[in-house]
């Protein structure tokens, strides 16, 4: 892989050291469902590190473990060489949702961490003013968060973190709730301050699902795989700041990371137990609507793609982030309507046919794909066919799914299966009674 250097150990003494970290949901009477499995992480002074992965890859969980908000199920977490118990001194966090207190002014929000430490009022105020000015919020001291735009709110979040002079700044998808332009301004402002040495911090650990953001800002990227979360690869970003998104080497690195993230797992993960009912029954389905899938197939079928597209280019053209595009691609792959390989998405024959068909034929193609490749939907339909009254409770399927995945995933998977089955007219669903049936279905077997 061009442009990617192998991991080189850093000489500095580590701020954070995590060994063999595991995190699991404990569910009664079944094996542990793993969120994180055997994660190792070392964080040294002077670096910005990204945890990059899809939603559900456990990267946010890892960030919370580093912050001390969460204790791992197993493994060792050391902060400045000592075991970590609870939120530590010298760590500050920036939240995706900003987590500002609506009843406190900008100044009061920024002073929160200082107040907790019992720092006297005069010092609090002067430090808060410094941080507010540094981050470009001067003049907004007495405003309430609801008077500010999203970008300004996240600046408050940053000032609140910087004012406690943390050694380590943790950021949980800090720019993902902002629009593109605002996010870009904040990123460059932050990197400029970092390069000029104006930030009172030693190191930054950020969670993101935006590949370009990681390449733009970070010195090192840990790419996570999902289900369970593992560090799939670790990359050093060799470019000096300021970085140019259009630089061919930059583009190449983004492409390579796309390829890494779409690489098919070689073998089924050992930690996901093989489904008891039937193979593949408990394959998680991402909540992607049929409209999106149809739209993507139509786009791919038309020019300039003609059935094949480079994922980063496609993401750019559709203004989607990797985290949004990849689940769509994977859903198509699961249905055998398209294939993902080497950072490209390629339509299959069935996919091309789908794109050219009328609504009714599309439904037939989709139904055939579902019955062949989505065991959950096939199982629901088969159960309905077998029952004399053609009815079945959704609770049973949810319970079975929950034996193999977390309740949230089970919920998403079942919802998606219901939506797909309804679209393909394989079954009806009564939300009120949580019941599948063959009412209003034209072709009961």
């Amino acid at each position: 892989m061009d442009g990617l250097n192998p991991k080189t150990p850093l000489p500095n003494s580590p701020l954070v050291e995590i060994r063999g970290c595991r995190q699991s949901y404990h569910k009664d009477s079944t094996s542990d469902l793993l969120v994180l499995d055997d994660v190792n992480l070392t964080l040294a002074s002077g670096e910005i590190v990204a945890l990059l992965g899809r939603s559900g890859s456990g990267k946010s969980t890892l960030l919370r473990i580093v912050s001390g908000l969460l204790s791992p199920t197993a493994g060792q977490v050391k902060w400045r060489g000592e075991d970590l118990h609870g939120p530590a001194d010298g760590v500050a966090m920036v939240f995706q949702s900003f987590a500002l207190f609506p009843w406190l002014t900008v100044q009061e929000n920024v002073e929160l961490g200082l107040e907790a430490q019992g720092i006297p009022r005069a010092e609090r105020e002067s430090r808060a003013e410094t941080a507010i000015d540094l981050i470009g919020l001067g003049g907004y001291e007495s405003a309430y968060p609801k008077e500010l735009s999203g970008g300004m709110r996240q600046r408050v979040g940053l000032a609140r973190a910087l004012v406690v002079h943390p050694d380590l700044l943790l950021m949980d998808e800090p720019f993902s709730a902002l629009d593109v332009l605002t996010a870009e301004t904040l990123r460059t402002d932050l990197i400029d301050l970092w390069m000029e040495g104006k930030l009172p911090i030693k190191s930054v650990l950020m969670v993101t699902h935006n590949i370009e953001e990681a390449v733009l800002m970070c010195d090192r990227i840990l790419v996570f795989s999902s289900n369970p979360g593992r560090v799939a690869s670790e990359l050093i970003v060799p470019f000096p700041h300021p970085r140019n998104r259009l630089d061919p080497a930059f583009r190449q690195m983004v492409d390579d990371i796309y390829a890494l993230m779409t690489r098919r797992p070689i073998k089924p993960h050992a930690a996901v137990p093989t489904p008891a009912a039937e193979a593949g029954f408990a394959t998680p389905l991402a909540p992607v609507s049929t409209n999106l899938l149809a739209g993507l197939l139509e786009t791919l079928a038309g020019p300039p793609y003609d059935g094949r597209a480079d994922l980063p280019a496609l993401a750019g053209a559709l203004q989607l982030e990797a985290d949004e595009l990849l689940p769509m691609g994977e859903s198509l792959q699961l249905l055998h309507l398209a294939d993902l390989a080497d950072g490209d998405i390629v339509m299959t024959d069935a996919g091309k046919q789908f794109a050219l068909s009328s609504t009714d034929n599309r439904k037939a193609i989709f139904a055939a794909a579902l019955r062949a490749h989505v065991p959950l939907v096939a199982a629901i339909r088969r159960t309905l066919d077998e029952r004399w009254n053609h009815r079945a409770s959704a609770v049973r399927f949810r319970d079975e799914l929950e034996d193999h995945m977390s309740p949230d995933y089970a919920e998403d998977t079942l919802r998606t299966a219901i939506a797909y089955g309804r679209y393909a007219e394989l079954f009806s669903y009564d939300e009120e009674a949580a019941q599948f049936s063959l009412d209003d279905i034209d072709n009961p077997a």
Partner: protein, 575 residues
């Protein structure tokens, strides 16, 4: 959805479980304990001038002030209760298991039935002194205010936004600091709103609890309520109008000086990051914010609270990372064993009381029958009030210019103690020889119908304008418009209002099913009259039985009718 939902709707469960049973047993065992420590004979109160009420209107300002002071004393007690009860129930899983159902039951107990015991109890604490009477009155108001305030805070504490909780932990606020920085502010809008509802309800009870007659003893605490009671005895209609006027002034003052500013102020604690167009500040709040001296005083107060909140007050074990919730089996077993023991004791004390006081099956059947009569009244009244107020409320609610002004008036009407108007009705019934069973009935809903109107107006004002336009565009009109468009749209609001009204009506039955004008006594058939009569005769066993049956009726009514309706409304009729 209505922003504030009665707690009895949201407790979630419908089918009573073991904890409900425990709660029912404990509440009634507690009540019995209160009855038993009460001496069966009453010592006459000696201080002659302390409890004399004259009908001279010149005394009314003083009486009004005393009534108001009782209200605020009770409000302070309710706040203390709320701030201890709610955190305890929210933070300890085990305490929550017991405390939440207990609160749910307490909400359904008609407190007016207990004036007798509480008065006797507090008077036995301060024999021969007015303090006992004062405390009894304050306690009566407290029991009408505390439960929904505590429930509101409990709900807030269990629904704290996760990101803010994480922020307080990441920035290492101690539990005490988090309480003042996050939990109290977050609970504030709901708490203030419930305080307002409580105060509105409270005027009714303070008026009812100032003049108490048990057996052939009667006491009158100087206040507006006892002033009205004396006026009734002396058939002095002029005095009653004076009392109504005084009450009007008091409620106007409390509304303008206290609650409008408080509600406007509490809006800043709403967790919504969208700037909404805030309605103009009430004049008192403007005064506070813009007057230099007053705002300095305000700053001083907020600084004081700020420094309380800044104390760390940390327990040595408090700083821990969150682990997957792990319950200790042993602790649970001990807890359940203790709970079972308490439940057994409670049941035993109830059974022994029943045996001792010879309350038999006939009594039970009689009260159940009377309960059905009162229930029929409540249902008919709610239906009639709905027929009247739903169209009017919708009409007003869809006209924004009207809605705001009418809301203010309706809120005022809800706060006004309806029992002050009872004499007017009684005179009419006496004059026209009306049937008590029919004509006393409307009194039950006199004060509570406003909750229906209030919520209907709120619902209709919140009805999405695009849906209205769609209905107009497709020319949906007449009956179809009511059935398909507006009624489903306001239904969740309607249920919220109707449950409040029905709960209040049950309570009001105790004072509304019997009425008197001088020597003339009017009495309707019903559980309320049964309780009132038993109180008059000093027959405690019957009072307890009546109140218990009424509580069960209210509980069953809530669980069987309102909660399913509310669940349906939230599931199906909201976007």
């Amino acid at each position: 959805m209505p922003t504030v939902v009665p707690a009895s709707l949201t407790a979630g469960r419908r089918v009573p479980n073991a904890w409900d049973m425990l709660a029912i047993a404990c509440v009634f065992a507690g009540i019995l304990a209160l009855v038993q420590v009460t001496p069966e004979t009453f010592k006459p109160i000696d201080a002659p001038n302390a409890t004399v009420v004259t009908l001279d209107p010149a005394n009314l300002p003083e009486y009004a002030l005393r009534t108001t002071m009782r209200m605020f004393a009770a409000l302070a007690a309710s706040l203390v209760f709320t701030f201890t009860f709610a955190p305890l129930a929210a933070k300890s899983r085990r305490a929550g298991l017991v405390l939440v159902p207990i609160l749910d039951i307490l909400q359904s107990v008609p407190i007016l039935g207990f004036l007798t015991f509480t008065t006797a109890f507090f008077m036995s604490l301060f024999p021969g002194r007015v303090a006992g009477l004062e405390l009894a009155a304050i306690f009566a108001v407290f029991t009408s205010q505390a439960w929904n305030m505590a429930f509101s805070m409990y709900q807030s504490l269990t629904t704290l936004p996760n990101d803010l909780v994480e922020a307080t932990r990441a920035y290492r606020l101690s539990g005490w600091q988090r309480f003042w920085k996050l939990e109290v502010p977050f609970a504030m809008p709901g708490l203030v709103w419930n305080m307002m509802l409580s105060m509105s309800g409270g005027w009714f009870f303070v008026v009812a609890s100032e003049a108490i007659t048990i057996g052939d003893q009667s006491w009158k605490l100087p206040g507006i309520g006892s002033y009205v009671a004396v006026a009734l005895d002396q058939r002095n209609m002029g005095a009653i109008w004076w009392a109504i006027l005084a009450m009007f002034v008091v409620i106007l003052a409390y509304d303008q000086l206290l609650f409008r500013p408080l509600v406007a102020w509490s809006a800043k604690f709403r967790v919504e990051l969208i700037a909404t167009i805030a309605p103009e500040d009430p004049w008192v709040l403007k005064l506070l914010r813009r007057t230099r001296v007053l705002s300095l005083a305000g700053d001083a107060i907020s600084n004081m609270f700020g420094s309380i909140g800044r104390l760390r007050m940390e327990l040595p074990t408090a700083r821990r990372a969150a682990r997957a919730p792990r319950s200790s089996r042993g602790g649970d077993i001990v807890f359940i064993a203790v709970s079972a023991l308490v439940a057994a004791l409670a049941v035993w004390s109830i059974v022994s009381y029943v045996i001792l006081h010879d309350v038999g099956m006939p009594d039970l059947l009689e009260t159940l029958g009377l309960g059905l009569i009162t229930m029929l009244r409540v249902i008919i009244l709610i239906a009639l009030a709905s027929l009247l107020w739903v169209p009017i409320g919708v009409w007003i609610g869809l006209r924004p210019a009207w809605a705001q002004r009418v809301q203010v008036v309706v809120q005022f009407a809800a706060a006004f103690p309806a029992n002050l108007f009872f004499p007017v009705f009684v005179i009419l019934i006496v004059r026209f020889h009306g049937n008590s069973d029919i004509w006393l009935t409307p009194l039950m809903i006199l004060g509570t119908q406003w909750y229906i109107l209030f919520n209907i107006i709120a619902g209709a004002s919140a009805f999405p304008s695009d849906l209205q336009e769609a209905a107009l565009n497709f020319r949906v009109g007449g009956f179809l418009w009511w059935r398909r468009v507006i009624l489903p749209g306001i239904f969740p609001y309607y249920v919220t209002g109707a449950i409040t009204a029905s709960g209040g009506s049950w309570n009001a039955a105790i004072v509304a099913e019997v009425a008197s004008w001088g020597d003339t006594k009017l009495q309707a058939h019903g559980l309320g009259a049964y309780i009132a009569k038993a109180t008059d005769e000093g027959n405690f066993a019957h009072v307890v039985l009546g109140v218990a049956v009424m509580s069960l009726f209210v509980l069953a009514f809530n669980r069987i009718v309102w909660r399913p309706l509310y669940a349906f409304a939230t599931r199906r009729l909201t976007l």
